[in-house]
Symmetry: D2
Subunit: 206 residues, 4 copies
């Protein structure tokens, strides 16, 4: 099974992005039955998804697993749905890395309002909590680049009638990112890597 894992470059006030570190680490893992490919995406509306689609066409994966950091969350959270909106607020309040700040605009004119991710989110969540890692299905990927990546990837797969499974999983900030913001929950990169290995195994089995 070929799995394409995407992470993001840093954004806003962040100097690093744990998902970039995670995909670089994952690129070297040997897991039986899984051919791991990775890509780091730009934090720019629409370009994030366009870059991922290029890679999908080059790699031809069975599964696309996108990772993003959700500063403020304490658990690993597989996303249930991508929605057809781009809007900057909260984490995205500085706009994307090109400086654009869309205000409640659609991502794709005439696209479906929302599309469900097709990863085995329930099985992933159960396996994570069983292995001692806090996890929960999330009902909103927000309206920033993470949602954009998920929504457009799901549209891409659906339009082509493709069998590719696709989804998005948010991870918490790392301790290093949040050492001066003591109320922000964190998860160390070691635990995040352990979570990612568990997730890959569940995807392989489902």
């Amino acid at each position: 099974m070929k799995i394409l894992i995407s992470g993001f470059e840093p954004f806003g006030k962040l100097e690093s992005n744990p998902t970039e570190a995670l995909v670089k680490e994952a690129a070297d893992w040997k897991i039986e039955g899984i051919d791991i490919r990775t890509v780091v995406l730009p934090v720019v509306y629409r370009e994030c998804a366009a870059r991922l689609q290029e890679e999908i066409e080059a790699v031809k994966p069975d599964v696309v697993l996108s990772l993003g950091v959700a500063v403020g969350r304490s658990a690993v959270t597989p996303e249930r749905i991508g929605i057809n909106v781009q809007h900057t607020e909260g984490e995205g309040k500085f706009g994307d890395n090109s400086g654009r700040k869309p205000d409640n605009e659609p991502l794709i004119e005439g696209g479906p309002d929302g599309l469900f991710a097709t990863l085995p989110n329930r099985e992933i969540t159960r396996a994570l909590t069983d292995s001692g890692i806090p996890a929960q299905i999330s009902n909103s990927a927000g309206t920033y680049i993470c949602n954009n990546t998920l929504y457009e990837t799901l549209c891409y797969v659906r339009e082509r009638g493709s069998q590719i499974k696709a989804g998005f999983i948010h991870v918490p900030a790392t301790p290093e990112m949040a050492s001066h913001t003591p109320h922000v929950p964190t998860m160390s990169l070691d635990v995040q890597a352990k979570a990612l290995k568990t997730i890959l195994t569940v995807i392989r089995e489902n």
Copy 2:
């Protein structure tokens, strides 16, 4: 420098207590210039402090560093003050491990209302955040066993005119403890152990 580190047994609905694991791990550390001694305290009002005092008298430490878990906190939090009250609410709502649930009672009749910890809390907090671990001085150790341990230890030291430095540091829940409560922030035992080593080094230098 001889440092006596205390942790606690589990309490309430918790099946384990990371501070028990931490002190057991610390008992085997070799850190230059520090003679580490450890003790695991009962989660029972008054007995917690009595047990620690026995150990202080047996060990004759230069510093007493007590550790406790604060479920819900995301950072390592050195406590500023112990106060003369015992009261069960929040985490302690099930009462202590003997089943007692005091209601806003003093710990020591006629004792001072509050006593400041004498560890170098500012230096500890700065060293932790500099090393990428979220930390902040806390202004309240609550009214449960942690505060009890801190308050009575500070009284004990003060009454004897002793030169012993004493304080209390809260750590977050571990991922394993909170895997089914995804809104509870966590810190892995690895990061907690790294934090404890940093704390010990700061105490040695100050």
Copy 3:
């Protein structure tokens, strides 16, 4: 303009539901240009939406505005989207008022994954914050009865090619509901009623 406002009966451990009080109060309001009709819905999956549809057919409103309480939120939150899922967790962990606890099931087999509400959510949010009431568009109505009501109502309107506008707005708990849970944010019924009047005026103008 005829506006049908729905509220809910109590659920879970709640003894009252502020949205029931709100719609009863609103039934007596005289607001120029608005014919207010109200209904209180059962907190039972599927029945909530069926009961609302009966009322829509009887009343033939121009707008359907559903209200629900979101214990834990501090602001008035118009919902962006309803999704095709029923799942009990969080507030809904006791199941619905019939005792049913669906586990990540669709509401309508073959229905669209998500549908956007058609109320002027941006204008509502701006008018509320301008009048001193905390408000924000929410990206998730959850997976309990509130989302069920929103999703099925949007499906109903879409299937019929109807011009009815429909949406859902969550309000915080009231102080009376949360007096013994001091960490739960609240908004008094007076402020909620002021918010509802502002919302109705915005709907009339848009």
Copy 4:
């Protein structure tokens, strides 16, 4: 019984302070058996307490009840203890209204570390929750102007061996203050005024 109620002027980024509005409103209340006097204090370290002491000497109250706003809290919170420290962080991160930003300094050299408030906090909390207003005893008034006012007032009373009862109660932000920060819990001025009347009645009876 003569009760001196203090509020504060605005501070930091706040344009108004609900405790100023509350004491101005309370100045006109007629409550049997209570002679209400009020004062609005400057948000400047040490001056806050000095101004309150002037008023205590002029008014000769039986009780001093200080009010402050705690942005982020959702309940009315009588404070248990004032502590001998001044330190700017969190709400006070902009420094006081004179621009001073003390770093973990004592308020009074050689003063006791902490002093308990002498208001009937338990009875106040119970009466508030019984009347449908979220309330809880707080174990920390922070290290900003509120704590300063409480600590120095308690020192003043103790040094003089006075029979004056003194304490501090924090109230939440109002909806108007937080309309653009939707995650900040609020309590309307109406509910705060109802709370204050309840508090005054409890003080009269205890």
